[in-house]
Amino acid sequence: MKSPRSSVGGHGSGNDVRVVPMGLFDDYDSGGFFDEVFEADGTVRPHYRSLVKRFAELTPEELARRVRLRDESFRTQGITFTVYGEDEGVERTFPMDLFPRVIPSDEWSTIRAGLAQRVTALNSFLEDLYVGERAVLRDGLVPNWLITSSTGFRREAFGVPVPGNARCLVSGSDLVRDSDGTYRVLEDNLRNPSGISYVLENRASMTRVFPGAFGDLSVCSVSHYGSMLLDALRHVAPPAAGDDPTVVVLTPGVYNSAYFEHVFLARQMGVELVEGRDLVVDEHVVSMRTTRGLQRVDVIYRRIDDDFLDPVVFNPQSSLGVPGLMAAARAGNVTVANAVGNGVADDKAVYAYVPELIRYYLGEEPILPNVDTYLLWDTDQRAAVLERLDEVVVKPVAESGGYGICIGPAASDEELEIVRKRIVADPRNYIAQEIVGLSRHPTLSNDRFVGRHIDLRPFVLTGEQVEVVPGGLTRVALREGSLVVNSSQGGGSKDTWVLSAGDEDDDEVEG
């Protein structure tokens, strides 16, 4: 080791921060995009200085050693995901990039306040819609037909209570940064957002691989997620459950691609991981079958989609669900989280109304802006978009995971023509958005750093209060130039370090 690790080097006022870092950053090119680490003139942003210095000093051998450490750590933790259609028994490790993404505390305060505001409004909206007076429709804020035509809308959820305005108990909105570095909400995930297990496991790996780097910065811990989630779930228990409600995680089973996460969450909370066949409903009371007989269940954190939850009211072919569950929930004997029918609020055509919903329910201005969105059912907006299909992104309103997206500039004339036809045939089913440049972040690729586009999925819990987990899943588009970060589309991830206020690297050096 040549450099003394104990020094606070790298960001003392005496250092010339404009020196282009060496080694792994040779030839690094931010490509005209907003870069998370480097300013436009190549200066390292203050909150990244210590990390850049550490990486610049790494020898190839040392780097290889850390890569090995990471892979080993992921294998021993058993963090794998199954790829559908591959040989059974084959499980892959999830690719985590070694360079963490850092979010300074002032930026985080904005994100936190913005997400809490957004989720509160969305919860109020869903509450109004399903158990309230539907004031939002009466007042004409959102057209009635738009709600009832949403594929996520569930008439069966009318009158099904969730205590504490917490229909979105866990939500995960995707944030992107545009070319100015402004954080914008790209979409909301209010049904079954997944990925929190990677947030926790990435952090566990980083503390093994780069323990020293944490010492340079004051990084907020994410390890208490399990107890945060359990607290929130216990908070929404039906009043009759008393002081010690029984919480379970409901999974579709081992063949689900997110099963690892279901196991992980049940373990973190110390509750049972059940399948539909473990639960029975009798007299509108849900119980699980144990070796000591039936045990009453009060809160179900379900990771099964609405359609498969209860064959009595939804898909009658489903054997994953629990017959009678909706009736028990309606009777107020069990709370289902996230609530049934939340999909109506993350419908991308309804997403466009969220800023209005925030104003309507909270009387506040939205803190985090949306991405500019065009509603294609609207004749004028549709006409304008069809004129410039090659400049915008077109998305189906109900898909997640990056499926069905058409990125105008990258699409061929034939593809654009297909999209045009689809829009004309079913305009309600599509939206168009302006293309967001998506900020980039240095990402390790064959022994050097290259710029790759990233986004951020923070997780928001609604319990006694609305809380944002200080961190999140930073997803990376591993292919050069790609704007699609979804894991199902070949994405990777980064550990996300939120710096706590007061402690961070704030010795301003103007570049």
Binding site: G78, E275, T291
Partner: protein, 321 residues
Amino acid sequence: MLARHAESLFWTGRYIERAESTARMLDVTYHGLLEASQHEAEPAWRELLSVLRLDREFVARGGGASAASVGSFLVLDEENGGSIISAVERARDNVRSVRELVPTELWEALNTFYLDLRSRNLRRDLEQQPYDLYQMVKQRCQLIAGVANETMPREDGWRFLQVGWMLERAEMSCRLLEVRYASHETSIDFHHWQSTLRSASALQAYRKTHRSSQDPSDVVGFLLLSRTFPRSVLFSLRRAEVELSRLRGADAPMTRPERLLGRLRADLEYTDVRDISISGLHGFLDRLQHSVRQVAEAVALQYFRNSQELALTALDFRPPG
């Protein structure tokens, strides 16, 4: 614990023991027949199938019973639920569904065993080196037993695994005796009994107890009633009984499976092997297996399917077919 998890562990134990015992029975039959003529061999293989209660399935496939046809039926036939490959696959599926409850090493031992079986050319192994193949199956099952023993906490999960394992072993040890008895009814030569003992890994232990006794009832007595040999029927039932009693709270009343098993175990303990004539052995073993199955059914009723749930599933809304 969840009833489904308990049931999965119970069946994991059963299937691993089934794979191991099936390998042992194939081994003893195969080697016992090496010097036999064709017309002796065919009935012996048929008898093995009937002892395993798989004779009807085999007949449905057509073709004669030979070392090759019965061997492949019992080792690698995936259509046959009683084959070794099926048993290992089912054990693996069961552990997979409770992966969060079992030590990683246990899952890995079983998964590797399964993947190894899948990647081998089992048909060629059967033709060229059946001994090695059966040896490998036995050793891998013993490895899994050892890993479970060294890594699982002595909690309910362990107990259900053991109860399933030991009830299956009790039944299969009866069958091992049946194979020998049936295939050499007319000429019970002591070297055949020796190979039975060897296939149960019991020859050394037998010699220590009975020296050079060549009395078949000593062999039967040893495999049925030994209090010290881990594969004897009595020993297996006693282990199952201990684990069953630990599943129940100390103050709770005795459960039905415990009562059935306790009675069965006591009956065996008070049995004098001289009272079982070799000609009456078949009926004795049959009754014994029947009683073991009743215990297993009582375990299922007690722990895996409680009465309230039974009442609910009895309401079948779907038309048949």
